[in-house]
């Protein structure tokens, strides 16, 4: 199915030609159940529409179900509009919302009809967006959801009365179940047959109406809107410009203003005239825009008030839960408990799965090894491709589990409470609660974490969050931590109670990342992004039972994106690293020299049942010889030359050439470090963090010790080592300046921290 026909682009809002599918946009407040309906309609199958020049992604899907085609006479596609409370654009997501509804994005033309999802438990506020949609004269179908929550608290929604009161079709969402598809399709049919709605309310003074009509006329003459849309666009412009003009708020993106300068001046003139005409109320504190917002709400109260009935002041089920969950003392304690459980589950549940993945990769490597003749191709496949991809696959269980748990917490309504509870902590570093969710997501991977910053309105807050998210301990650091802790520390030695050296070290590394991120946020907020902490209004949606199908979809989508992005980069880097470490080959003279040395050693080998001490001595000598040969082979390779040239910069941190080569490879992605160490230590096949050979090789290296390991661990906490993150930061900040800044600050921070750690470790005698 061709979702977007390029020939339609130029036509704007021409009548629906039968050849293309009907375009249905899905709009609504955040937490209104919009994505539930989207998944219900599309069967959970969608593709991400990535608009050029726009940072935010929307989802497109085909409306599944035969009844729909029967009713509407053809296929329909569903377009997800980012959740927003109002069409006034304050964040990148809201800019995309208005652009999608008006069909201004480069890819998607104006939708034929908008399904406006409204939360039945909070109709008045949700219908504010409906009024704005009506003003823009798009055919609207209002879809109330969560009426079961309303009923849980003893309320009831009268759909027929609401339909009559609003004057646009209203049909129950029913959580997007199949039965309601046909009803929805019929409502769409009705909306399309009706005259498109228009602004349902009037200004209190005729003079004000005339002023706005003048603005609408110049908007129309300027070619910005057609006849029908001009009035709606004029009103949207009033609110948008009135909001930005104040100077109290920065535009979502200063480099791409939502309203251009000339139009802004024209709109401001109308705003000034309106304020003049509206008299005392508007001149006092309301302003013309305040009056505009007030008129919309007044219309809602007048029309919908009788339908909703007398306001219920009683406690809802959610309020009773919140009395505990958001309690000043209990709240943070519960939050810490929830986080502890999340991390514990992430580790314990993933273990058997990781084991399974490792066995599978090992089997595949063995199969290729046995099936192919000895040579560069086999080496490339086994040491490069399979080891590289395998190193990515082993994280998938952990990442998927973390995504699943976060999705569960989000769908149940808890994540909003977590942001509320964390707001007090985040305030200390100049951020607010909303920035907490992206940071939490970054425990899995910074790439989705950075994408999650799009909901943050203030540009300063968004950029600070983007720049510190890579310091959170992502799952890609885990294999490196596991390897180094396992080799150089007595990981399972008990310290106190259930805690072991390994566990405490790991906890310390996680905390170091968190403290680093918060500290850096505080620093950035006081220097480069200095400014007042913008006000935060956070909505706490009612608690409800998460739908497993949606959690599963979240996990599938996020995990796939991780696999696709990380997989390709890691595969490419492992292959390149393998090549630059293997070529040019060491001279034949070197090989011959070591071959002779090995033969000499073998000749002096004790019998296998001989003196154990003698055997051990022989084994040590053999390993030292292997170690010496590998070192020389690496020094002859292309990577070895570069590594030797760079190594002096890392000498104060205690890293030798092979570590430096591995670190350089791990700039592409942290998890590359393990296979990079494997390749540069020449331990060959089947390298992973459990690999005995790599562990032994590391232990056998006389230049490696606990002090170097600690220094390396600290380097991994802070250093920039992820090309995917770089791409994500570039995408979200639309500039190479901030990715460059990220690389510089993270590298400097890591170098200083690792240096201090190394010196301190040597001083206490860990060398």
């Amino acid at each position: 199915v061709q979702l977007v026909d390029p020939s339609q682009l130029a036509q704007g809002i021409a009548p629906v030609p039968p050849a293309r599918p009907l375009r249905v946009a899905l709009a609504g407040n955040p937490n209104s159940g919009k994505s539930t309906l989207f998944n219900g309609l599309t069967g959970g199958r969608s593709r991400v529409g990535n608009y050029p020049g726009v940072t935010v992604e929307t989802r497109l899907g085909r409306w599944r179900g035969l009844s729909v085609e029967a009713v509407l006479g053809g296929p329909a596609e569903v377009l997800d509009v980012p959740g927003c409370y109002s069409l006034t654009a304050r964040s990148p997501e809201e800019v995309l919302a208005i652009d999608t509804i008006r069909g201004r994005t480069d890819v998607a033309p104006r939708p034929d009809v908008v399904l406006d999802v409204v939360d039945a438990t909070n109709l008045e506020r949700n219908l504010y967006l409906t009024v704005q949609l009506m003003e823009l004269r798009v055919p609207v179908v209002v879809v109330p959801t969560m009426d079961e929550l309303l009923e849980r608290d003893g309320g009831r929604l009268d759909v027929v009365a609401l339909d009559a009161a609003l004057g646009v079709p209203v049909v129950r969402g029913g959580r997007g179940s199949r039965e309601c598809h046909e009803e929805l399709a019929r409502a769409i049919e009705r909306a399309l047959a009706n005259e498109p709605p228009g602004r349902p309310w009037r200004w209190s003074q005729a003079a004000a109406e005339a002023l706005v009509a003048e603005l609408a006329e110049s908007v129309r003459l300027g070619g910005l809107a057609d006849n029908g849309e001009a009035d709606g666009l004029a009103h949207w412009l009033l609110a948008q410009v009135g909001d930005e003009a104040d100077g109290g708020r920065e535009a979502p993106d200063p480099e791409a203003p939502v309203v251009d300068a000339a139009l802004r001046v024209r709109v401001q003139r109308t705003l000034d005239a309106l304020t003049e005409h509206l008299g005392e109320v508007a001149r006092g504190e309301h302003g013309a825009v305040g009056e505009l917002i007030g008129r919309r709400y007044a219309w809602i109260a007048e029309r919908v008030g009788p339908v909703v009935g007398p306001r219920r002041t009683g406690r809802r089920v959610s309020d009773r839960i919140d009395a505990v969950i958001t309690h000043r003392v209990l709240g943070p304690a519960i939050f810490l408990g929830v986080m502890a459980v999340v991390f514990q589950l992430m580790f314990t549940w993933s273990e058997p799965l990781i084991g399974g993945v490792e066995v599978g990769i090992g089997a595949l490597a063995a199969l290729v090894r046995d099936g192919l003749p000895d040579g560069p191709l086999r080496d490339l496949l086994v040491q490069g491709v399979i080891a590289g991809v395998g190193n990515v696959l082993v994280f998938v269980p952990q990442i998927a589990i973390l995504f699943a748990l976060l999705a569960l917490l989000n769908a149940s309504g808890y994540l909003a409470r977590a942001a509320y509870i964390m707001d007090r902590v985040m305030a200390r570093v100049g951020l607010h609660g909303k920035a907490f969710v992206p940071l939490l997501t970054s425990f899995a991977c910074a790439v989705p974490g950075i994408a999650a910053t799009r909901t943050i309105e203030s540009r300063r807050d968004r950029f600070v969050t983007i720049l510190v998210a890579p310091l959170m301990t992502c799952s890609a650091r885990l294999p490196v931590y596991a390897l180094l802790i396992g080799v150089f520390f007595e990981a399972s030695r008990p310290v106190a109670g259930p805690f072991t050296v390994g566990g405490l070290l790991l906890l310390g590394l996680y905390l170091a990342g968190l403290v680093g991120a918060l500290g850096m946020a505080g620093l950035l907020r006081r220097t480069l992004f200095r400014g007042p902490r913008p006000p935060l209004i956070l909505e706490l949606p009612p608690y409800h039972r998460p739908r497993l199908a949606e959690v599963w979809r979240d996990v599938r989508e996020n995990t796939w994106v991780f696999l696709r992005d990380a997989g390709t980069i890691i595969l490419a880097c492992t292959i390149v690293l393998w090549a630059v470490l293997s070529y040019p080959k060491a001279p034949a003279e070197l090989e011959a020299r070591y071959d002779a040395a090995f033969e000499e050693l073998a000749a002096a080998a004790p019998a296998e049942d001989g003196d154990p001490e003698e055997l051990a001595r022989y084994e040590t000598a053999r390993r030292a010889l292997v170690e010496a040969r590998n070192r020389e082979v690496v020094e002859h390779s292309a990577a070895g030359w570069v590594g030797s040239a760079v190594q002096p910069a890392f000498d104060p941190l205690g890293y030798d050439t092979r570590l430096v080569v591995s670190l350089m490879a791990a700039i592409s992605a942290r998890e590359v470090m393990v296979s990079a160490l494997g390749v540069s230590y020449g331990v060959g096949e089947e390298v992973d963090e459990e690999s005995v050979t790599l562990r032994e090789a590391l232990r056998g290296d006389d230049r490696m010790n606990a002090a170097v390991a600690l220094s390396l661990l600290v380097w991994f906490v802070f250093a920039f080592q992820c090309v995917s993150t770089l791409a994500a930061v570039k995408r979200e900040t639309k500039s190479w300046r901030w990715p460059a800044f990220l690389v510089v600050y993270q590298t400097s921070l890591a170098w200083v921290a690792a240096f201090v750690t190394y010196r301190a470790a040597l001083w206490v005698g860990l060398g």
């Binding site: 109290g248 309020d319 509320y420 006000p535």
Partner: protein, 72 residues
């Protein structure tokens, strides 16, 4: 009697009478439903405060709650 949202006791319903804030903040709060005549109730005081507004629950930081004038 007019006071700010911060002065309200918990579980004491009141009506919004106005907002004393610069335009951007005022518009934002109004669009979220803090329009004159709207019924509000503080469910949990402190910062951020938890507030019932229409059928929803929103949290406002101390400095934001201060700008919302209410009438008992």
């Amino acid at each position: 009697m007019t006071c700010s949202l911060n002065d309200l006791n918990a579980n004491q319903p009141a009506l919004v009478s106005g907002l004393s804030a610069p335009a951007a903040i005022r518009h934002r709060l109004m669009e979220m439903g803090f329009v004159p005549g709207a019924e509000v109730e503080v469910l949990s005081r402190g910062t951020p405060a938890l507030i019932r507004l229409h059928g929803g629950r929103v949290t406002l930081s101390h400095e934001l709650a201060r700008v919302v004038r209410v009438q008992l």
